[in-house]
Amino acid sequence: MAVDTPSSAPSDGNLLDRFIKGDGRAAIELYERHGDILFSLAFHIVSDRSDAMDIVEGVFRQVRTGSYRYETSLGSVENWLLQITRLRAINCLRKRSDSTQDSELATGHLPQPTQHKELNACSKAEVSKLRNLLIAMPTLQRVALELAYFEGFSVRQISERLEHPIETIKETIHEALLTLHSTRR
């Protein structure tokens, strides 16, 4: 979760620049602002604390070495870090199951925002509402959505795993997203 920062505190963008240039204090501050939510996401996906730590450390290392470059069009720094963490965690799951070369794999990549302001404005209340809606969702909807989003399954793989027709899974995920979409109105 992003920590509310006083107006005098450096922005995330500023911290990121300093971190890439080798400022250790910036690394710590970035971690203190976003480390918990990055770890929470990685742990939720891979269910292993050691792997989750490796993933978050890898995200910081890759950002530090310039393998991922932040652009403001990609939304907030936190959103960007979360998406990298999610992709790396899904890759970790695939490496565990030795399925990285399967052509049926979902790409896992989300379309990038063009209206990034919406992504920065995810309040605690909205997150809480989103979480409650996920919990209250019919089981099939929640499981299908989680397999797609957090485990990188394609619709065909979800259909096989849950033993439901592909069309049912498509409809189920669509309905799940529409339910969650109501939090944004």
């Binding site: 979760m1 080798g22 400022d23 250790g24 910036a26 710590i28 971690y31 480390g35 918990d36 939510i37 990055l38 770890f39 929470s40 996401l41 604390r49 978050v56 450390e57 290392r61 530090r64 070495t65 990609l74 939304g75 959103n79 979360l82 998406q83 990298i84 999610r86 992709l87 890759n91 052509s103 790409t107 990549h109 989300l110 379309p111 990038q112 925002p113 063009t114 302001k117 919406e118 995810c122 909205e126 997150v127 989103l130 979480r131 959505l145 797609a148 989003y149 957090f150 990188g152 399954f153 619709v155 498509k170 409809e171 995920i173 669509h174 969650l180 979409h181 109501s182 939090t183 109105r185």
Partner: protein, 270 residues
């Protein structure tokens, strides 16, 4: 623009695309479709905030203290990890030369293997990152192309020879709301509106044409974060000149007749 028949084949794929659940070939097919289908572009754009916000909806766990320490080391050019088991180096000085040489060789090989392992790991990570960047670039290009085509469509309407403008006036529920309809029979109809309040949960703005006594739905309208609407709609069958139009707030379900409060109204040219 994609026809309804074209669109049907891609129905529901927008949701899967938004959460990254399409495989590479389906994704490519859908992105080609996106270049032609404004309806799917709008669906994807409306679902994106949710798709991105889901990363924050996971159960919360505090990051371990050890992770903080490891991150702190990241800024010092990431030296290879040290063995954390604290094995002691034998201190006896009575080893013979052969044993020393063996240790040195073994140590060198170990160091070399460790370097190779780190190098392989970094290469693998860089490959993953390069793949990610390539996909991100493709997606950005597809979304930019779709946005460009949407802008072109607006331009075609706004520069049409038969363009007629109709102002929409506000109602007391939103006195600062304003709207305008750009009507072209050769092209399509462009609706713009601003100053509308956010739609409450479970409700959506709708456009209505009133060619005669019974209103005809122009479809649901998506409001952006600034309370604005920009939508391209098609005139009802048989209607070739601006008729009275209204924007109302309705329940989310598919509805065939207006029942909610009106926010904007225009008289048309009838």
């Amino acid at each position: 623009m994609a026809t309804d028949l074209d669109h049907k084949a891609f129905d529901r794929l927008a949701s899967l695309y938004a959460v990254g659940a399409l495989n590479t070939s389906d994704r490519t097919r859908f992105e080609n479709h996106l270049e032609l289908c404004h309806q799917c572009v709008n669906t994807v754009l409306s679902l994106l905030p949710i798709a991105h916000a889901l990363t924050r909806a996971v159960p919360y766990s505090d990051g371990p203290a050890e992770l903080r320490t490891r991150i702190c080391k990241t800024d010092t050019s990431s030296p290879p990890k040290q063995d954390s088991h604290g094995k002691e180096v034998p201190s006896r000085i009575t080893f013979n030369v052969a044993a020393t040489v063996c240790l040195l060789v073994a140590g060198s090989l170990g160091w070399y293997a460790s370097q190779q392992h780190n190098m392989a790991r970094l290469l693998e990570e860089n490959l993953d990152a390069a793949n990610d960047r390539a996909v991100i670039a493709e997606i950005q290009a597809a979304v930019a192309l779709a946005a460009q085509q949407e802008a072109n469509q607006h331009t075609e309407i706004l520069t049409a020879q038969d363009l007629i403008m109709v102002d929409l006036s506000s109602y007391p529920l939103a006195p600062s709301a304003r709207g305008r309809v750009y009507w072209s029979n050769e092209q399509d109809i462009l609706l713009t509106a601003s100053g509308l309040p956010p739609a409450p949960v479970g409700r959506t703005y709708y456009l209505w044409f009133v060619p005669a006594s019974d209103p005809v739905s122009g479809g649901p309208l998506t409001l952006d974060n600034e309370g604005r609407i920009t939508a391209v709609v098609t005139a009802p069958a048989g209607v070739s000149a601006p008729v009275p139009m209204a924007v109302t707030l309705e329940p989310d379900n598919d509805i065939t007749a207006p029942s909610g409060e009106a926010y904007l109204f225009g008289r048309g040219t009838n």
